[in-house]
């Protein structure tokens, strides 16, 4: 496996008759968190879903060097995992059952399934919740369980749509710490983020979208700077006005 987790060239997504993404080319690498940024309606979630193989696209998307168009469902699950902003899951499944769903399409022996599920629950610190019903968990716990389900696929590319939306500051910080640990251990994390201060603090690289086009990409420090922000959001960036917090 090379260093490049995602490589896109000239990606276009059309929903109905409306082009939502146009000519998107970017790379994301293993061992780093990449933020997908942009105003509402920029196409961030659409891009994430296209990379996850959930939307038909034109152009080229490679995941770990494999053409997404040619990947079988099970192979795609081995390479990437997608965590939506809000899961529709409202059934009283036990947490361990939810995490085990990651193994649905993967054909290995029972021991490998068990080991992957246990490891994922340990890493995300939800093993103690294994017998609890998913519907009785708090928002933060649900987020962690869904991340554990993504990790249990053993894919090294995790796509997250607004992972800290609806989390309080403590849970959000704790979640970002977890993502940083995962990136440090070799995962490629690509996350749609709304808050620029979060992106500035927790991500290494950023992609800035507007109206379905990629306008800026590079290190987060370069992307979240006066000119790109003015260009994309139409606002002026002020120095030293960003609030900052840390876990005690």
């Amino acid at each position: 496996m090379g260093d490049t987790a995602i490589l896109t060239e000239g990606v276009q997504v059309t929903l109905g008759a409306r082009p939502v993404l146009r000519d998107i080319s970017f790379q994301a690498r293993y061992g780093a968190i990449t933020a997908l940024l942009g105003p509402n309606g920029a196409g961030k979630t659409t891009l994430l879903k296209a990379v996850a193989g959930l939307l038909p696209h034109e152009g080229r998307i490679e995941v770990a060097g494999e053409d997404l168009h040619r990947l079988h469902r099970a192979d795609r699950v081995r390479l990437l995992a997608y965590v939506p902003q809000e899961s529709l899951l409202a059934s009283p499944f036990r947490v361990e059952h939810v995490v085990r769903q990651a193994r649905y399409s993967l054909r290995t022996d029972r021991q490998s399934h068990h080991a992957a599920v246990e490891h994922a629950m340990e890493v995300v610190d939800v093993a103690h919740l294994r017998k609890r019903s998913f519907t009785q968990l708090s928002g933060g716990e649900r987020r962690r369980v869904l991340l554990a389900r993504a990790l249990a696929t053993e894919a090294k590319l995790i796509l997250l749509d607004e992972p800290t939306a609806s989390l309080d500051i403590r849970h959000a910080l704790s979640f970002y710490d977890l993502l940083k640990e995962l990136a440090a251990s070799g995962y490629c994390i690509v996350a749609v983020l709304h808050r620029l201060d979060d992106a500035a603090r927790f991500t290494e690289r950023a992609i800035l979208l507007k109206d379905g086009r990629l306008l800026h990409q590079g290190t987060t420090a370069d992307v979240i700077s006066a000119e790109p922000i003015r260009d994309v959001y139409g606002v002026e960036m002020e120095e030293a006005t960003v609030l900052s917090f840390r876990l005690r």
Binding site: K49, A52, G53, L54, R73, A74, R76, V77, A81, Y82, P84, S87, L88, L89, A90, S91, P92, F93, R94, H97, Q101, A102, Y104, S105, L106, R149, T153
Partner: protein, 327 residues
């Protein structure tokens, strides 16, 4: 409760309901001259009730999972109404050709007609599914098909009133009853119910993942279109089998999965066998009750399930709301 204990308890419920059903009715088993005939008739009838209850309950589990809606019942797809209409058309056709069809096993006209009706409804659904219909379109198609088939069925029933006997049979059919079911009906529906139940059990893991929504399921490697298509096919087979045995029997497919979820959980592979057993026991008991209640003749099964099912369903809903809001 462990799965083994639950299944043992449910098997016991089936046995108890079955024994009660054998002893329930206007004639007594104490009469030696009637005993063998009564046992044969009531035995076939309780098997028919068991199979119809099992098929409808497993169908209910499947559609509630597929639509992620605990208020869904197998009739939601329109295949139940299609099977009912198929039975009605078969009755009318058999009546018109009664002289010529003497050689045909007349008792099999109804089950074959209802299965054909269910398959025609299924064919229409599959045309929409092939065109890429989503769950909402599937739901609306099922609703429209149900309305259409029920309207045509009502029209046929009103036409049949010109003949008193035929009209009575048509009305009895639409009310739901296993009173006319014999060994042939049971043998006809048995493989359909067994295969349909095993198939839905087989799709259980996919249905579990589909409860997270189709997009998440697809991201976890579920073939969403195939799951949708095959679950619809097997639900149609199950409802066709159930209607061929007992006509329109309401509420079973709705309340049995509801009643089991708090005990068994939401996993489909655990729900399917439990639903088959509880649904079977429930319908055997309802059929026996219809025979035990005072009256000039027995109360049709569909009426008994409605009378029991509606308040039971309301109670289950209230209990679910209380649990959800901690009231």
């Amino acid at each position: 409760m462990s799965a083994t204990r639950l299944h043992l308890a449910l098997v016991l419920a089936v046995v108890v309901a079955g024994v009660l059903a054998l002893f329930t009715g206007a004639a007594s088993l104490g009469d030696e001259s009637l005993r063998a005939t009564l046992l044969q008739l009531r035995g076939a009838r309780l098997l028919a009730a068991f199979l119809a209850g099992a098929a409808l309950s497993v169908g209910g589990v499947a559609v509630q999972g597929l639509f992620r809606n605990p208020l869904a019942s197998p009739s939601i797809l329109g295949t139940t109404a299609g099977a009912n209409l198929g039975g009605q058309i078969a009755l009318l056709t058999a009546s018109a050709l009664s002289g010529a069809s003497a050689a045909l096993a007349i008792e099999m006209v109804l089950p074959i007609g209802s299965l054909i009706g269910a398959l025609v409804a299924l064919g229409i659904l599959l045309i929409f599914l092939r065109a890429g219909a989503d769950l909402l379109t599937l739901l609306l198609t099922g609703f429209i098909l149900s309305s259409l088939f029920l309207s045509i069925g009502s029209f046929l029933t009103s036409m049949a009133q010109e003949s008193w006997e035929l009209g009575r049979t048509m009305v009895a059919w639409s009310l739901g009853s296993v009173s006319g079911a014999g060994a042939r009906h049971v043998l006809f529906a048995l493989p359909l119910t067994i295969v349909g139940t095993i198939a839905i059990w087989g799709w259980g893991h996919a249905l579990d993942v589909m409860l997270s929504g189709e997009e998440e399921a697809a991201s976890l490697g579920v073939d969403v279109k195939a799951t949708r298509r095959w679950v619809v096919v097997w639900v149609a087979v199950l409802t066709g089998a159930a209607v061929s045995l007992g006509g329109g029997v309401a509420f079973v497919g709705l309340i049995v999965p509801h009643a089991l979820r708090p005990i068994v959980g939401a996993e489909h592979r655990r729900l399917v066998p439990s639903a088959a057993l509880l649904g079977g026991a429930f319908l055997i008991a309802c059929d026996a009750l219809g025979r035990a209640l005072p009256g000039r003749s027995e109360i049709p099964l569909g009426i008994v399930t409605g009378l029991i099912g509606a308040p039971l369903f309301l109670w289950l809903l209230v209990r679910m709301q209380r649990e959800a809001y901690g009231g």
